[in-house]
Every structure is written in C-alpha cells, then in structure tokens.
Amino acid sequence: MSLERTLEAGHRPLSRAAGDLLALCRRHPAVAVSLVVILVWVVLIAGANIFSPFNPLQPAMKVRLNAPSLEHLFGTDQLGRDVFTRVLYGGRSTLAAALAVVAAGSLIGTLIGAIAGFGPRWLDEVLMRVTDMVLAFPIIILAMAVAAALGAGLGNGVIALAAAWWPQYARVTRGLVLELKSLDFVAASRTSGRHPAGILVRVILPNALPTLMVMAAVDIGRAILNFAMLSFLGLGARPPAPEWGAMIAEGAQVMDQWWVATCPALAVLTLVIAFNMIGDGIRDWMDPLMRRRR
C-alpha cells in the first residue's frame, strides 16, 4: 500500500532515471549489492550453456544424489542430473515466467486503470468494482483456481498469475491519471483541440510511465516467488522441465540430500531479497518525509 502511495507521489522524467539510479546506489549500498546479485544471476542464467557442460534433462544414474563437489557445484539430484545446471536452466523458465506475469499484469492493469481514470464516470465505477472483486482473492488462491481450470503448464501458469496480478496496477494507474488529468498541461492540450484518446495516450500516459515501470521492476521479485509457489503446487511448469518451484518439489522427497531442494530455493530467495531491497531503497528515496529526516 505505502509503495503505491510513495510511487504515485514521485513520478520523475525517464531521462533522469540513470542519474537517479546512481544517487540511489550511493545512498543505499544495499541497492547496489542487489543490482549486482540480479546481474550475476541474469548472466549465469542467460549463459547456462556456457557455464555448464551438463544436460539439464539427461539422467545419469551412476552419479545419483552426489553431494556438492568441484565437478558438481550444487551436487546431483535423484536422476543424477547436475543441480547447478538445472538451477541455471530452471532460471530461464522462472525468470521468463515472472517477467511475463509482470508484463501482462501491468499492461492489463494500466489499460484498465487508464480507461477508468480517463473515461466516463460510470465506466470508472464498473471497472473499479471489478478490480475490487479480484482483489478480494489472495493472489495465489485465485491463480490456483484459474490454473486448475486451464490445466497445468508454464504458459497457463503465467496466464493464471497475470489474471490475479493486474488489479494493483489498475488502481495505481487510475490514481495517476486522475492526478495528471487535473494539471495545466493536460488542460492546454485539451484546449488545443486534441482528441481525448490522444491526450490519454500521448500526454497523460507518458507521464505516468516512469512510476509504473519502477513499480513493475520491483514487482518481479514477488512474481518469482508466486510463480515458484504455483509450480511447487504442480500448477506451473511440469517436471522434468527444470523450474525452481518444481525443482524444490522434487527435492522435497530427498531432504537428507539437502542440496537438491536448497539450491533452487536459495536462487529464489536471493533474487527475491534483491528485488525487495531495491524496492525498499526506491521507496525510501521517493518518500520526501523520510529523506528530510535523515
């Protein structure tokens, strides 16, 4: 909630983003560390085939459940597959799914929120009531129901989470649009005879964009956690495809060989912590009250 409020208060032009990021890192070293953590993961995951000589799917029964060693950094699982390799390849599914959830959720939410904030009063009323209805469900519960309806699978898991993800963006966008709508430059473009849809798309939304993008970037951590949960429940990616949540579920059967479940879990944990730290830093940074008191 407070994130929404502070983000709404602090929209800044996109061009200053890089400078802001540097200043933010200087003020909050934790943000810099988090950025490095995310970068390292992204490089490792993107270059999975370079950093690992193993096949993530090919069983090798001779090396079942080997403890972490120099050859197998994170050990091997029940089928002798290299856990490090599977974590890297699994990151491709998990990260891609999380990005897709945030992208779809923010896009749908922004669209609905923009129409609600800019459109006629009755439409605003209707759209916001629908938003409230969806908000009455805890995200993972609604996603579980949708995923159960659609059937398990990576794509359906993304659709299911996105279906529960958009309301927060709808609310924030609506708030931003209502706020921006009352400003002078919007009135100016209205008197200059621009079409209302043009005002929304060309004048209002570009000004709302930075806030929404920051919100979405910080949101990726939560999406990773939620998608891993869905997969753990067997409703996202299905084994043998490597995916962090599904890998933790497989590792659950061999907890005495702790590395099988723990390595993908630590991947989730470190990434989510990193995104949350960045979110905290930005929230602090954008909250003028907090800044003054330092």
Binding site: M1, S2, R129, V130, D132, M133, V134, A136, F137, P138, I139, I140, I141, L142, M144, A145, V146, A147, A148, A149, L150, G151, G221, L225, A228, M229, F232, L233, G234, L235, G245, I248, A249, G251, A252, M255, D256, W258, A261, T262, A265, V268, L269, V272, I273, N276, M277, D280, L289, M290, R293
Partner: protein, 339 residues
C-alpha cells in the same frame, strides 16, 4: 458504532456477489467441456447422469440464468461434488476448515506477539545494530519461499532433533475432543482436557511458526515504518517534557497513534496466511483446506478447488470487515465520518 457496523455489513453483500461472479467466470473459463471437468469420468459416459448434471447447474440456459442457478446452489450450501473424494465439496470443507482456522489464528497470534515489539523497538533505536538486524531478518522473512522453509524445518526438528510431533493435529493415539467449534484447542478447553490442549498446541507449534514467517516480516516492517512516522511528532516531545517516562510515552502515545496501518496490514497478512496454508499444510500433513486444495489441484478435482477458492475469498473478506470495524472502534474520527 451500530450504524457503522450495519452499513459495513450491508456492503458485504455486493462484495460477496462480486466474489461469486469471479468464481463463476473462472468456472466457465475451462477450455474443455465443463461437464467433463466437473464430474467423474465414469459418470460422464452415462448420458442420463450428464443430463441430470446439466439440468442441476442449468448448463443449457443462457449465461445469466446459469449464474443465478450457480448462486442458488451455493446459497443452499451445494458446492458440487468432489471428483477425487466422491463427497459433496461442502462436507469436505466443513471437515477441513476448522483445522485451517486454528492454524492461521495461532500463526497470526505468533506474528503479532513477535512483530509489534520488534517493530516498535527497531523504530525507537533507528539506525542502530538492533534496527539493522530486524530489517535484515524481516527482509529475508518476506522474501522466503515458505514451502522450502517448511521442508527444512520438518527435516531438522522432526527427522533429526525429534523435537516436534509428526503429521496431524494430535498424536495418533488421541481421540479428538467432542466437536463444538472444531478447533481442538478450544474444544479441549471446553471439555476440560488440558493434556489434549497441550498436545494440540504441540502439534500446532512448528507449522504455525513456519506459516507466520511472512506475516512476521510484513507486520514488523509496517509497525516500524508507522512508528517512525509518529516518533518525530511534537506531541511526543510534549509528553516527554511533562516528565512522562519513556516506556509510557512509547506505548501510550506513540504506539496508540501508530497502530492503524498495522491493523490494516494484519488483514492483508491474513490473506497471505490463507495462501501460505496451501503450502504449509501440504508439507506438514495438516488436515486443513490448504492441503485439501493441493490434493484437489493435483488430481484435477475442479469443484473442490473452486470450493476452497470461494471459502478463502469469503474468509478474507470477513477478516477485512473485522479490520474496518476495528478501525472504527479505535479511531473516533472514522466513526464520525462514516455515520
């Protein structure tokens, strides 16, 4: 206060209708035929059973009529039949819901008992080592994949240290107390069987602690932030300059003014607890609706999944109603504005 309560209760009706509209929409979004997804395969081969089913849920009617039929069946307590357990979903839910309520309640009590002091003290000693520790631990807490934490906890405390009991709500030899509320701790107290209450708490401890991880992190962070906003205010300086002692100022002036956002987040945390119960219950073998939802999802038992979804959304709504009422009870300004 009564007018406010009454108004707030009236507002519950559109919310509940909204919830059923969403669950109805999800039910109708099944790509395969709804009949195939909601009744047992063997039954689907008998045209007469399918016909009875179609008539009951009004599947040959237009969508609005279908929705009304759906609503009528729900109001009658008919959530459909589980494909996996072959029982009415409502009966299953009635069996499993008390276990979840008990677990979630103990978890929220644990979270509040731990989070409030942590958040208040972290804010009071802002920037110090204690504050740093609290911030680090709570950041880890809210980022934790609790399904993994549950696995680790069980492995350490049950398999290796033998400190906690195994699956279930009571030791296997013990019979549950006579059902009044369905919560074993309360029912045990009513029956005067303190040994049983102790055993129930013993079984609750670890799952409740693991489940509370998120909410401890969340509530502590909000308490700290809310306290920070209050601590700089003039009325605290006034209270101090009048000679009030620090603990008194902290509790009676600061906390009382910082509590409203904390109560809001407790409502949100309860939603997390319900969602988290799906994972925690599955791993701890806790016979609640969370584990029921998991087994339903893994057996493609669609009516059961929808039943849990509906019950969770309704519980969540009721908790948020309670939060609103608590707000009005604590803050006279809200009461005045609403009535």
């Amino acid at each position: 206060m009564w007018t406010f309560t009454f108004r707030r209760l009236l507002l519950l009706i559109p919310t509940l209708i909204g919830i059923t509209l969403i669950t109805f929409a999800v039910t109708r979004s099944i790509p395969t035929h709804p009949v195939a997804a909601t009744i047992v395969e063997q039954a689907a081969e008998h045209p007469e059973i399918v016909a009875v089913y179609r008539a009951k849920w009004g599947l040959d009617e237009p969508l609005p009529v279908q929705y009304l039929t759906y609503l009528r069946n729900l109001v009658r307590g008919d959530f459909g039949d589980s494909i996996y357990t072959h029982r009415p979903v409502a009966a299953d839910l009635a069996d499993y819901l008390p276990a979840t309520i008990e677990l979630a309640t103990v978890a929220i009590i644990i979270s509040i008992l731990i989070s409030l002091p942590l958040g208040v003290l972290a804010a009071r000693f802002r920037g110090g080592p204690f504050d740093g520790l609290v911030r680090t631990v709570t950041t880890i807490g809210v980022s934790m994949p609790i399904f993994w934490l549950a696995l680790v906890a069980i492995n350490i405390f049950y398999f290796h240290l033998h400190l906690v009991p195994g699956q279930g709500r009571l030791d296997s030899g013990l019979a549950p107390p006579p059902t009044v509320t369905g919560l074993y701790t309360i029912d045990g107290l009513i029956a005067g069987d303190f040994g049983l209450v102790a055993n129930a708490l013993y079984h609750l401890a670890l799952p409740a602690f693991v489940l509370a991880t998120w909410s401890i992190g969340l509530i502590t962070r909000v308490t700290r932030a809310s306290m920070l906003a209050v601590l700089g205010q003039d009325f605290l300086r006034t209270a101090r300059s009048k000679g009030a002692r620090e603990p008194y100022v902290l509790v009676h002036h600061a906390v009382e003014n910082a509590i409203l956002p904390v109560i809001t987040v407790m409502g949100l945390a309860f939603g997390d607890l319900l969602a988290g119960s799906v994972m925690t219950e599955t791993i701890f073998g806790w016979p609640g609706i969370g584990r029921y939802a998991y087994s339903a999802a893994s057996h493609a038992d669609f009516p059961a999944v929808m039943g849990v979804t509906l019950v969770v959304a309704i519980s969540y709504t009721i908790v948020n109603l309670a939060v609103d009422l608590a707000y009005a009870l604590i803050d006279p300004r809200i009461r005045a504005a609403m009535s």
